[in-house]
């Protein structure tokens, strides 16, 4: 019973959602916008994990659930698996995706807008702004992972790190 969704539609929806929350609803409070976007992701992950675990034996430990997120869950969402999974065996997992779908269309403009005066600071601020805008796009997938794991009975905190586009890694910290 596979229902199909247009990839470009989902891409546009995610971009539009992030920009609506950052630039219109909470333009002056980026932390609040981030929390709202994360909360939407949480609900989505909560519902999707219910659907994708139908007809699957229950997970016996945390690692199995994380593996499910890396393999099957990620394949359902992005048609690819997580490229690298690292763990310290004490409740922290790093999920690395070398080509994260929702970052493939993000590019950081190398030339700053105004190059006439004081080049150095404007370059720095432009990069900082771009990095902040990119990180806004990662709150939604963070929320999805957190929602899915919470629904599977694993309370956790998820954060994201951008290395070099479009690669990024998600850090899952399981609450004891």
């Amino acid at each position: 019973m596979g229902r199909e969704v247009s990839e470009s539609c989902v891409d546009s929806l995610v971009i539009e959602m992030v920009s609506a929350y950052c630039n219109r609803f909470y333009a002056t409070k980026p932390e609040l916008a981030a929390r709202r976007i994360e909360a939407i992701g949480y609900l989505v992950g909560h519902q999707l994990s219910e659907r994708y675990t139908i007809e699957r034996p229950r997970f016996s430990d945390h690692l199995e659930a994380i593996k499910f997120i890396c393999k099957d869950f990620w394949s359902e969402l992005f048609k690819k698996q997580i490229d690298n999974l690292k763990t310290n065996h004490r409740g922290t997992f790093v999920l690395q995706d070398n080509r994260f779908r929702w970052l493939t269309h993000v590019s950081i403009d190398p030339s700053p807008a105004n190059t006439d005066i004081s080049e150095e600071p404007s370059l720095a601020t432009a990069e900082g702004k771009a990095a902040q805008a990119t990180s806004m796009h990662l709150y939604f997938p963070c929320g999805i992972i957190r929602g899915a794991l919470s629904n599977l009975g694993i309370p956790c905190a998820v954060s994201a790190e951008i290395s070099n586009l479009p690669a990024c890694s998600f850090v899952v910290r399981i609450k004891a």
Partner: protein
């Protein structure tokens, strides 16, 4: 005939409970469902079987009473489905099929954006679908 179905959340909170009898025995059926929660806990915490049946979502016959048979199902998200039937000879495949369709209906119900996770399921569509599944139980209709 199925007399009662129930959905119970991961904290043993009732999410959906529906009986299908004419007689005024809803309380008795609720009591049976309540008792079966302990049996499910016991099954899950002390698994006897090993191999492929370990951690299977379908828990099988929980316990037979004089008039009823109680079956259980535990999803990956720790939500329990309970089925109470008066039939004496129930085929395992029928029950599995029932729970499969029931699970699909449940997933659709909780994916409703107006449903609040952890709260009772009030969707009328879900109720209609459940009574439809209950009506066709054991008729051998492979859906």
């Amino acid at each position: 005939m199925i007399v009662c179905v129930a959905v119970v959340g991961h904290q043993n909170n009732p999410l959906y409970l529906q009986s299908f009898t004419e007689a005024d025995d809803a309380l008795k059926l609720h009591h049976i469902v309540h008792c079966s929660l302990d049996v499910i806990d016991e099954r899950v915490n002390n698994p006897k079987k090993t191999g492929p049946t370990l951690n299977e979502t379908f828990l099988g016959l929980l316990y037979p009473t004089e008039n009823y048979k109680v079956y259980g199902y535990l999803t990956n998200t720790k939500v329990k489905f309970i089925l109470v039937t008066t039939d004496l000879d129930v085929r395992d495949a029928d029950v599995r099929n029932f729970f499969r369709r029931f699970h699909l209906a449940y997933v659709d119900a909780v994916s409703n954006p107006f449903h609040v996770p952890g709260k009772k399921i009030t969707s009328r569509t879900f109720a209609d679908r459940v009574s439809d599944i209950v009506r066709t139980f054991g008729l051998g209709t492979a859906v």
